[in-house]
């Protein structure tokens, strides 16, 4: 019998650091350890914009302790993840480097979408019958210390993801700025209410069946304040009157008072108090009778995903989710979805035929396809120079599950799908590493050709095949229903980048297909 896979995962969150050690036993995940230490990492990031030396040292102490615990379990791997507090810190690279030098752990920065993704996978795997995420429209809200990430899932696929400044530490800070003003509480309510209205306006009008909140302080605070019988398994169904009761429990009380009365740590108590206000506004904004609160940590969700669905399925799911999100963005910006899909199809065919020739990784295909979907999105602003508009729209989007680097790559591809070739004259391109610049050169070359082959936006090309890919020459064969006059012209204009970076000439062979 092969030894069970056993993993140790560490989450460096905004207000705490946690470890989880678990292994798979058949269809069950067995959690062996799940310690937590409060550490206000987010305070540094949200106040000063970067992580202090003190926080770095405290983090190192805890990471070493967790490594010590993990050693006692002979784990297959120890992985460390970080979210908002590290992601948003200006000195995150130095922090990550210090942690790696001193502990050997390479921190993986999770984009906001990954958090929702892992949680939704967890809901699907563990709570399928109670919360059929694949057949309903569900708004998932993940409350961190800095931001609250709201993601709308249509039948399990993300259609919109947006971050609001409603994290517990941000709210506490906001309240602090208001000082002891008698109207402070009302001002905070107004602030939350306004953010909720914005949220509602930003969501596609598809109807929300259920709302699921993911918040460790709430999962801890609810049973403590409202009674232990609230949770059934990992879910707590919370009514509007429960939310009011929770807010009453917290109103006018200090974190220390609450911590003492309900036997919570002060950081948890403070976060619960802040979130009780958000909950009230959420009920009002969405006119709900109930919301669910999920009692599971991000680490538990990642562990479940890594142990239950190891290998590629996670990547495939990520791709599906990204495509779904891209499509939803096209709708939002009234883009030509048919053209976008055609460019993606042609890009895919080009990628498939030239992947080995260009030495591209599988992941590069995702960047090319996403750029294919979004390359014309700038037309929403203006047709003229739309590739420039596409660049800044993409860099400003809340793109589900993409890291900052990946988002920049895609924006850069969209920027150079037409016009000038990528070069150091362009700031975004300059900000990339050498390796990523080469990637952008190669993928831009493909995207430019794919876009050219649907120049008429009329889907004239039915099939595309790379029929020859040799050192000196590359030959494409396309079958079209009509004569692709515009496409031929555009192709000749746009093929130069490919030829200049490969040193090969590229030839287009057109066959007519009625």
């Amino acid at each position: 019998m092969s030894a069970p896979l056993r993993l140790a995962l560490i989450d460096i969150g905004s207000s705490s650091i946690r470890l989880i050690i678990g292994e798979r036993r058949g269809d069950e995940i067995k959690i062996l350890e799940h310690p937590r230490n409060a550490l206000p990492i987010g305070l540094d990031t949200f106040r000063k914009g970067e992580l202090s030396q003190e926080i770095t040292n405290q983090t190192l102490i805890r990471l070493r302790r967790y490594q010590e615990i993990a050693r006692g379990y002979d784990v297959t791997a120890v992985r460390a993840f970080a979210t908002t507090a590290v992601r948003e810190a200006a000195n995150r690279e130095m922090f990550i480097d210090t942690v790696e030098r001193k502990t050997g752990l390479r921190i993986e920065l999770l984009p906001p979408g990954d958090v929702v993704y892992y949680m939704s996978c967890f809901i699907n795997l563990r709570l399928g019958p109670e919360l059929p995420i694949r057949s309903r429209n569900i708004l998932v809200a993940e409350f961190g210390a800095g931001t609250a990430e709201f993601s709308l899932l249509r039948q399990g696929r993300i259609v919109r993801s947006t971050g609001l400044p409603l994290g517990s530490q941000r709210l506490t800070r906001f309240l602090g700025q208001l000082g002891g003003a008698p109207t402070a509480a009302a001002a905070l309510r107004d602030y939350i209410s306004s953010e909720m209205r914005q949220l509602k306006l930003s969501l596609p009008k598809i109807g929300v069946d259920e709302i699921v909140l993911i918040s460790e302080p709430l999962a801890y605070g609810l049973p403590a304040m409202l009674g232990p019988a609230r949770f059934s398994g990992n879910l707590c169904s919370l009514t509007r009157s429960d939310a009011r009761a929770l807010a009453r429990c917290c109103a006018g009380r200090s974190a220390d008072d609450l911590a003492h009365e309900y036997r919570m740590s002060p950081d948890m108590a403070e976060a619960t108090a802040m979130l009780s206000l958000v909950l009230e506004q959420l009920f009002s904004a969405f006119e709900r009778d109930r919301v669910f609160v999920l009692e599971a940590s991000l680490l538990e969700a990642i562990l479940t995903q890594l142990l239950m669905e190891p290998g590629q399925s996670g990547e495939q799911d990520r791709r599906r989710q990204l495509v779904s999100l891209a499509d939803s963005i096209l709708r939002k910006y009234n883009a030509d979805r048919v053209h976008a899909q055609q460019v993606v199809r042609l890009s895919r065919a080009l990628f498939q035929g030239l992947q080995a020739y260009l030495g591209l990784s599988d992941q590069a295909r995702d960047y090319l396809e996403l750029a294919g979907y979004l390359h014309d999105i700038g037309k929403f602003i203006s047709n003229s120079g739309h590739h420039r508009h596409s660049e800044y729209i993409i860099t400003s989007l809340n793109l589900f599950r993409l890291s900052e680097r990946e988002q920049k790559l895609i924006a850069c591809l969209a920027r150079h799908h037409r016009g000038a070739a990528p070069s150091e004259d362009y700031a975004l391109y300059r900000s990339l590493t050498d390796k990523d610049r080469i990637l952008v050169q190669k993928l831009s070359a493909l995207l430019r050709m794919a876009d050219a082959l649907d120049r008429s936006h009329d889907r004239k090309v039915r099939e595309l095949q790379v029929v020859k890919a040799e050192d000196a020459e590359v030959e494409l064969q396309v079958s079209c229903r009509d004569e692709p006059v515009l496409e031929r012209v555009a192709f000749d204009e746009r093929k130069h980048l490919f030829e200049s970076i490969t040193g090969s000439s590229i030839r287009l062979q057109v066959t007519r297909n009625a």
Partner: protein, 684 residues
Amino acid sequence: MPEAMPVKKSDDGARYFDRDLNWLAFNERVIEEAEDQANPLLERVKFIAIFASNLDEFYMKRIAALRRVMDESPNKSDSFGFFPGEVCEATEEYIARLRGRLYGIYDSVVGHELKGQRVFLKRHAELDDRERARVREFFETALYPVMTPMAVDQGHPFPILPSKTLSFAVMLKGDKKHHLAILPIPQVIPRLFRLPESDGAAVFILTDEVIRGHLDAFFKGHEILDSAVFRVMRDSELDLDAEAVDDLLYAVEKEVRKRPRARAVSLEIEHRVSDTLLDRLRKLIDIGDGATKKIRGYLDLSFLFALPGQVSRPALQYPGFVPAGMTYDDTFRRIRKGDFLVHLPFQSFQPVLDLIQSAAEDKQVLAIKMTLYRTTETSGIVRALLRAAENGKQVTVLVELRARFDEERNISWARELEQAGCHVIYGIPSLKIHSKLAMVIRREDEGIRRYVHLGTGNYNEATARLYTDIGFFTVNEEIARDVSDTFNVISGYSQPPHWRKVVSAPHDLKPFFMHLIDQEIENQRQHGNGLISAKCNALQDREMVDKLYQAARAGVRMKLLIRGLCCMVPGVKGLSETVEIRSIVGRFLEHSRIYLFHNNGNPRIFLSSADWMKRNLDRRIELLFPIENEALKKDLSWLLDTYWQDNVKARVLLPDGSYARLKRRGEALNVQECLIKYYAARKR
């Protein structure tokens, strides 16, 4: 008991006994065992020693604490309403009476009954020539070379005398004025010296008596005007700053070193001492008249612990017994087969040793984690942990250095463990680690399995033969998670988590007890069957006592076996009519903690390291763990019933604070003797 056990009344009519006076009442029950002719003679001798030793600890801990409170806030009452001054006065009176009784029984047992058995403890003057010669030889070879008299004058300050150190105070005649010298008796020399046997008689003399016979050898050329043996008891509290302590080991070590200079709380001296010598001594020790005791007889009767072991008279001792063992080939397989309990000392401590020793050698074992509070110097457990570290296991030991009076010993083996590569953690400055838990993490075919042992008593092979405790072995996943979490919390690796099965102090245990009691109140209201049956060592937490009164007023029946101090007043109309409190003091020290809540016919039973004392519930890390296996629940339920049936060693606490033996109806039942037989007969 005192003339009348003082009782404080609260506004709502609740009543409370004082903790210290009630503890002295417990020690009075120990003296009753020394008086009890039904006990074998040498065991009665041991009870005298136990009483004496208990009283010493009481001085160093409780009297010292009361004095501190009197100095700092004399007008502040404790949580029950007792003021330190009144308690001090009442305890001193009570102790004086108990001490009189102690020396009475000492004279009777050692002075008469042992002589009848040809066991003699002689004064120097009573020795014959042959014995004198042997004693002189002993003095010259073993005592004289290691003893140093110390002059006390302007150039020589009073020597540092650790608590309990017996010393001679000697007044010497000088040319112009008299000189004081102090002659401490080294604690390493056994106090009881056995003389050669003649005609089957066992003859002993105390080292202090030997020294008295040769005192002039230390002061040649001086005339001894007066001499007396004395000892000082000092405050044993360690002054650890909860906030500022980074290195607990260093801090405890430093504080322990200060202990010989700690405030003196009592001076005991032979009654023959002259007023001049006593006054001088008092001034030098800085102790008042009220804290000085003149003793008619030997000081520190705890030397009697050693006597039975040096006299081969099995007929004068409890019949020997071998703790019932368990048979299994493989410890791990046995634990996997099903949860089980081990009831010490009736059953052997071996399964605990086996678990740790097997873990040290087993190739599949990855890690061992355990708490150590008090253990023995030659502990098999410590040796096994050292071996496990040598074998590359991850060994984590949470050492509580501050086990009172064992601090130095703990520092020594904690260092040894550290040097061997064990990860030794010294806990939290403000909280003592009192929970007893061990966990072995083993890699098996199906995955990780954690073997857990939870106990009501310490991992100490010596006390495992003397204290009644219960250990629980399990591989239950939820309990293992909780135990893992407990280790992480204590070692500062995590904040307290949600508990699954166990409940821990100081955060959750008291509210959990309150919740359980509330449920019994509700059961009483709805079904009329509220019942709490508990066995522990002390009931002193005010909130717990009040909650129990609330339950009693609601009609919940309570059968409480509280071995030691108890602040609750049972049997008071309208307050505690439904409460019966008993104490069992016998051959073994009752130490197990079992809590049973009737729960409307589906009893919830727990074992714990905690008593119902404020220190356990608020200032220590303690664990309460449920026993859910039906067969084991039945065993524990039976055990509580059997304890309740004891009519030989059980005393019932009366509303006036006195303890009375039960009126025996039917056959005599001594629960400890009964359990020896029960476990011997039971096949495992």
